[in-house]
């Protein structure tokens, strides 16, 4: 996970645990855990994007005419 997001995730978890310790039934508690979910999902998507991306593929998407990106079909 990109470090900035990872940081946000762990902070939000701490935040949620604190908020819910005071008032486990309240809206603030639900909102806090919802934020954890949102950030965890974002972190997961970021990891997937990183996994998929290949620097050469990315470059060739925008520059298909360059020598490195030429393709040949027999």
């Amino acid at each position: 996970t990109p470090p900035e997001l990872a940081q946000k995730v762990s902070e939000s978890i701490k935040q949620a645990e604190e908020t819910c310790a005071d008032d486990p039934e309240g809206g603030e508690c639900a909102a806090a855990w919802d934020e954890v979910e949102e950030l965890s999902a974002a972190a997961s998507h970021a990891r997937d994007r990183k996994k998929d991306s290949d620097p050469l593929e990315e470059y060739c998407k925008d520059n298909p005419e360059t020598d490195e990106c030429r393709t040949y079909e027999d």
Partner: protein
């Protein structure tokens, strides 16, 4: 770009022929309502001014709790239509929108009326309707459906803020994905087809563990707490939408392995509403009858735990439905093709198309079980539905002019 005048009997649809790599977005011309109203009718001959524009899109709704972004379902769907879906080039890098040649997928989180700070202040989750602007959602989906472009807000999941809007052109197929596609009745009525992805609690827990355990800060307890804290709002606002869906994909733990809690082998049900226009449910062997089928035997050898199918009619929230169910996993190509050859009403264009689509994305999650299979089948059904709608419109240009 062509301006053509047509008579009532000819097809209204000459889709913009785009040259090679031109994205349809770039050659779009949209007709304003006034030019449509300018069509005159004299006696029997009717003339229309039609500029080279995208036909009015077919609108699909997908309800899912997985957040937006490259969800597997969306990637499979866009793949059926051909082409890969990508974020809009040159725009906000945190945009949630995906665009391919035929399809545009937007994330309904973009219609949040409260950003992350706002929700924290009010003590409201993103699941709560109070955090979403349904009026704007309705206005914009309606505009797209009428063939108009929109300036759609962007909700940035990284910062939690609402970013400046992005321009979205009407595509052939417009998919709205998110938590509330079927929540508002007006939006519901705009959908040509709707799908609800219903993940059972046990499976949701197993998946979230897989997703989050590697994350620093998360523990089994925090994952559990997060699911439980969101459950009341989820049950109150999101879950009820499934009664409106034309198709529900329900994901349950397997029944083939006693006490399995890994959530790796899955039992998946495809619940298809009967009587939906342009949608003919998939069936096994004999439509309307009830069947249990274990394909593994003399002709097909499967490895543990095997594969089990069921099909039959049922009722679901008061609606007549047909349910196709698969429990287990595909291990080999020949299992997949064997199963495909026994299913009917798949809306494939050639024998083996389902298998081919599944193989194309063998690295996607669910490629070896019912989730991938049914998502692929629904993708083909949506293609079929789209083609039927287009054909209908071509056959009735007078109806189209009235809009």
């Amino acid at each position: 770009m062509a301006i053509s005048s047509l008579h009532a009997t000819t097809s209204l649809h000459s889709p913009c022929t785009t040259n090679t790599s031109f994205r349809q977005n770039q050659v779009i011309f949209f007709t304003t309502r006034s030019s449509r109203r300018g069509s005159t009718r004299h006696g029997g001959a009717r003339t229309f001014q039609v500029s080279c524009s995208v036909d009015k899109p077919v609108v699909i709704g997908l309800a899912a709790d997985s957040g937006c972004g490259k969800s597997t379902f969306m990637r499979r769907l866009t793949s059926v239509f051909g082409g890969a879906a990508e974020p809009p080039k040159g725009g906000n890098p945190d945009s949630n929108t995906l665009i391919s040649d035929t399809t545009t997928v937007i994330c309904l989180d973009d219609y949040h009326s409260l950003d992350r700070t706002g929700r924290k202040e009010k003590g409201v989750t993103a699941l709560d309707p109070r955090a979403n602007d349904f009026d704007l959602m309705y206005e914009q989906v309606k505009a797209i459906k009428e063939g108009k472009a929109i300036e759609k807000p962007i909700y940035n999941h990284v910062t939690g803020l609402l970013d400046p809007p992005e321009l979205i052109q009407p595509p052939k197929i417009f998919v709205i994905e998110g938590l509330h596609p079927m929540f508002d009745e007006r939006v519901r009525d705009l959908l040509d087809f709707s799908i609800y992805l219903d993940i059972s609690d046990e499976v949701k827990f197993a998946w979230k563990i897989q997703r989050d355990m590697a994350e620093r800060g998360h523990s089994l307890e925090s994952i559990k707490a997060s699911i439980e804290a969101r459950k009341p709002d989820f049950d109150a606002f999101i879950d009820p939408q499934k009664q409106y869906a034309d198709a529900v994909i329900e994901v349950l733990p397997t029944q083939l392995i006693p006490d399995d809690n890994e959530g790796k082998v899955l039992r998946v049900k495809l619940i298809m509403k009967e009587g939906v226009k342009n949608f003919n449910p998939v069936y096994l062997f004999d439509e309307g009858s009830s069947i249990t089928w274990v394909p593994c035997g003399r002709k097909l050898t499967c490895s543990y735990p095997g594969i089990k199918f069921a099909y039959g009619p049922d009722t679901y929230f008061g609606n007549e439905v047909s349910v196709l169910e698969m429990d287990g996993q595909f291990d080999r190509l020949d299992e997949l093709i064997y199963v495909e050859s026994h299913l009917s009403n798949l809306s494939t264009k050639f024998y083996g198309e389902v298998t081919q689509q599944m193989l194309k994305h063998a690295d996607f999650p669910g490629s070896n079980n019912g989730t991938g299979l049914f998502q692929t089948i629904i993708g083909l059904k949506i293609r079929d539905l789209y083609e039927q709608i287009i054909a209908e419109r071509a056959g009735a240009p007078t109806e189209a002019a009235k809009v």
